[in-house]
């Protein structure tokens, strides 16, 4: 079992370290090509499942749910 570290960022994405795959809620498997990736939690990123910084433009609080799992 690999050590996977999850770091939720205040009002921002979930940082995931040590994963090889991020599986979203629809079962799509996204290969992880970096040592650390930022997973979108605001649902508005154009690069989902990855964060693209869009959460900073949102004026209202959004549900911060990463919707998926790392492996």
């Amino acid at each position: 079992m690999r050590d996977i570290e999850l770091q939720p960022c205040d009002g921002g994405p979930l940082l995931v370290r040590g994963a090889r795959v991020w599986t979203d809620d629809d079962g799509n498997r996204h290969p992880v090509l970096r040592p650390v990736v930022a997973v979108c939690r605001c649902g508005k990123s154009s690069l989902r499942p990855w964060c693209d910084g869009t959460h900073k433009l949102l004026r209202v609080a959004v549900a911060l749910d990463p919707r998926g799992s790392a492996s």
Partner: protein, 357 residues
Amino acid sequence: MVVVAHEGVAAASPQQLAPRVPRRRGALSDATLRLLVDSPNEVSERRLRALATRVSGPVLADRDAQLTLWCLYELQYRGLAHVDERWEWSPAVLTLRGALEASFEAELRRAVGDLPRTFADVSRETGLVEAFEAVDQALPGPGASRYVRRSASLAQWQELLVSKSIYQLKEADPHSWAIPRLAGDAKTALVEIQYDEYGAGRRGRQHSQLFAETMRLCGLDPGYAAYLDAVPVSVLALNNLMTMLGLHRRLLAGVVGHLALYESTSCLPNKHYAVAARRLGVPADAVTYFDEHVEADAIHEQVAVVNMLGAHLRDHPDDAEVAGFGVAAGALLDNELARQQLACWRAGRPFLLERVA
């Protein structure tokens, strides 16, 4: 499993060469560069020290002074072609550099006023994200990336790349000076960012290499500092700021703050640049750099602000004002450059000093 061959060494790329000595732009750069093409000797060292005593008055917007400082700083990076490497640690060079830096830093400190203290107060009382917002509100950017997205012509796009190239072809290097000076969690976070900047172990994926490829595909010379003669003083000043912050240990928190500023203000502009590149019809591979930065900087922003700067200020709370100086001075010079570019482009004038393509 993907097997990647690492055999074979490519021929030296233009990025690996030291930049040539630039065209002189005034009395100080002319005198300094004339002395540097000789090997260090007593006479030339005495003359350099004499030049240092004549540095007076403002240097922030003086291209001659900023070009001189850039060249002296370059001795710490890759050197200048045909300039003796021993000049790097010549006390006379350091004396002249110190005189230019003293004026530069004093002008920057006057220009940012109370902002470093505001940054420190807000970061302590509310949080770092709010401290960055306070600087952004005091020094709002002019929205150059939105202009580029919607309106930039191909010639203006090339001017943008050339303006960025002085830094982007050594991307991440000025902040790497901080690695041996940091300790603990802040160091771990900085190296996590820099590892990605330098390609995360993947050949050809250094951000500076991706940028060079973007330049080549957009019809520009990807050589390191190839366009030094073409860039206005505002470009030189923001590059010199990064190196000054990086090379002085007393400004360590400043270079850490500067990197956090860059990482937290880069995602959305790069998204605009990617749209502009596609609108202008540049080759798809030339857009890779900008797409990469949207994804990478969304990660780096969190690591830089929370894990790096946050950890450093937790361990060194008295450093918050120095961090605020790096953030505010960085924002000030970035905005100044963007304002000048916009003014030129909206008036249909070139921003650069020379035609580049």
